[in-house]
Amino acid sequence: MATVGDVLEWTRKQVVSRVPKADLDQRDPDYIRDQLPATWLLASLYFRADVAGLDRIPAEGPVLLVGNHSGGNVPPDTFVFTLAFCSYFGVERPFYQLAHNLVVSAPPLGWLRKFGTVAANHENAQLALASGAALLVYPGGDYEVFRPSWERHKVDFGGRMGYVRLARDAGVQIVPVASVGGQESALFLNRGQWLAKLLMADKLLRLKSIPISLALPWGLNISDLAGHIPLPSKIAIEVQEPIDVDRDDQAVHDKVMASLQDGVDRLAAKRRFPVIG
């Protein structure tokens, strides 16, 4: 007779076995090039996106791009920035993005791997930077992306700063990428960390949150696992000045957070209305 523990262990193994191994070769520049026009249409017409400061990213070589994350499981900031990076530097420049295990292992999202999306773990991140690529990470991850909408202009990594060690080990600069607008694409009410603990999703699926939001087309949206239709919120992104990793982790982390929060505050000050921008 299988115990609850056996079932949970089986479930954990099923999820873990589906997480793709570190394989940077799945990125396909031709595929990305073909997708850019559709992405451009969505970014330009639906999200009326504006991306500034791309010239602050080192023109070549590995670099760690660190962003604040917004928009639940359908984060517009990621695809808008990916479009901007690929347009500016060309699809030929290797560029990877770290994403949650559930995102990269979901069969309907397999195409993301062709964009250079790999599972968020230290091994993949190191491999990407060692290969000379630019790497986009969102240290706040599922914690930050489900913050309540009234905290939309607050950068909150939940104390995570492993990215500093990653940059130090790889010997690369950190370039903060500030964005606003994503958290207005739905009304996020609660992170639901209590719900994740209650359902043991934090242990089984590395899900620290089972968020509660009001979103299209569901109305009340629990977990956002099936995604949602984002409101056409204006997305504004500003790349900040590069930061050298030349001090202890906490000092560098504080500098990155200050840079991101300054950028977000600047972008937020230009907004007159939620969603409309």
Partner: protein, 144 residues
Amino acid sequence: MRVERRCVINADRDAVWKIVGDPDQYPSFMTNLERWETANDQPPGVGARYTVHWKIGSVPVGGLIEVVEFDENRDVAWVGITGVTLRGRIRLRDGGEGQTKVTFRLSYQAPGGIFGYIADRIAVRQVGRTVADTLKSLKRLAES
């Protein structure tokens, strides 16, 4: 898509060519130019490469271009090597006394099938305005 705009500048061809034939001056008259960088060691002329981006819609659009025609006082033409498929030409011809007729053409085609076609159609108005404003700036610069 192909966009073409023309203007007549009240300056002779030598004066206009001094600007058009010097890629270092392009950022001073090209509208919506987000990036213009020399990409190889070639002097201005055939084979010189530049990284060029115009802000079209939400993001900078462009890529690496190479000059394929550099006919003094007449034509400068380039093709895109990376990014969207692109051909561009600035053409100088005699106008009236002390005048130069300038034609600026941009042909481009986004990849991606039907979405590329739709993106081209939607972008064409902004590209047209960019080309027209560029000629106005060139006229101001050459006549100043």
